[in-house]
């Protein structure tokens, strides 16, 4: 046995330094002992490789993995489908927010306008006094009080007779004007 024969195991397990491989292979051509071991080792390796690679994995294992892959790919597709529609969500949210803001502004404007018109339609006391119409004539009797108010419009002139009955009405033949009567004068 030479010094190179001691490198046999390193050569077989592939851990021999690259620089020494060619040197050992030259030795191998002349050393029959090493040749036998290398051939036997190669035979072992080939036989084991061949035997192990002939062992099939159980069909149940393969089908289980395939089924699981199908389910996970289906879930992935479903997830992608849902995800692909997600662009719609921020647009909807933005549109909703804008709609709410526009509605708010519109309502606020309307409120302001109506509020002003309400305040305009409700005259204050001083302006009411200023607009108060002077009665033309006032009739007073025991049971009622009547006044004649002049009303002018673009087309005609009216005088409204307003009669205010007293609590205990007593018909009076001298009053001249009947209760609750509107009379067109012009």
């Amino acid at each position: 046995m030479t010094v190179l024969c001691q490198q046999l195991e390193n050569y077989l397990d592939g851990s021999l330094d690259v620089n020494h491989v060619s040197e050992f292979e030259q030795h191998l051509e002349t050393c029959s002992d090493c040749q036998k071991v290398v051939e036997a080792d190669q035979a072992v390796s080939e036989r084991l490789f061949d035997a192990w690679t002939s062992v099939p994995s159980p069909k149940s294992l393969q089908s289980a993995v395939s089924a699981r892959n199908e389910v996970s790919s289906r879930n992935e597709t479903e997830k992608n489908r849902v995800t692909s529609h997600r662009w719609f969500v921020p647009i909807l949210a933005t549109a909703g927010t804008v709609l709410i803001l526009v509605s708010f502004v519109f309502l606020w404007n309307s409120e302001t306008r109506f509020g002003n018109s309400h305040s305009q339609s409700k005259p204050d006391e001083s302006s009411a006094n200023q607009l108060e119409i002077e009665p033309l004539v006032t009739f007073e009797s025991d049971d009622s009080k009547s006044i004649l108010l002049p009303i002018e419009t673009e087309s005609s002139k009216f005088t409204i007779v307003r009669a205010f009955p007293t609590i205990n009405p007593k018909p009076s033949p001298d009053s001249g004007i009947q209760n609750h009567e509107f009379e067109k004068l012009h």
Binding site: D13, A40, D41, L48, F49, V55, L61, Q62, V65
Partner: protein, 166 residues
Amino acid sequence: MKTQIEEHIDSVFRFALSLTKNRHAAEDLSQECLLRAQQKIHQLKEPSKTKSWLFQIVVNLWKDHLRKKQPNLVETDIATLFAESSRPDETLIQKEEKIEALQMMQALPDKQRNVLFLSVVEQLSNQEIGELLGMNVNSVKASLSIARKTMRYKLITSKENEPTRQ
């Protein structure tokens, strides 16, 4: 089309079988490994190392299993593994030779058997085997050397006995 995990189903099952020496335990271990791999596929940084990554999952699961309870598994008869595979081009003698080689390997101590399997069948480097099984490279080389010697001796002996066996 097979996924990168599906491509290694056979290897995973064989490695699990080498670890457990029991068909049903190997099947359960493989199932668990493949399920976990599918869930954690995003953690795989280098697709070229898928097989090593799957083997690492198998080893971790097996260690967890051993920690929880000492398995009292009955060794599966290797011959039953070939019951499902009936290759038409394979003679009975070839089939018997394969069964014999696997039976010899099954008889090796756990560490030697697993190192030999990963080196010869899965063609992993000593460095990769060491990382996978938590051994240093020298320890891997030593185990591999003993396992090879034993297998050489067994196969040579069996060949010498062949004429009398037949």
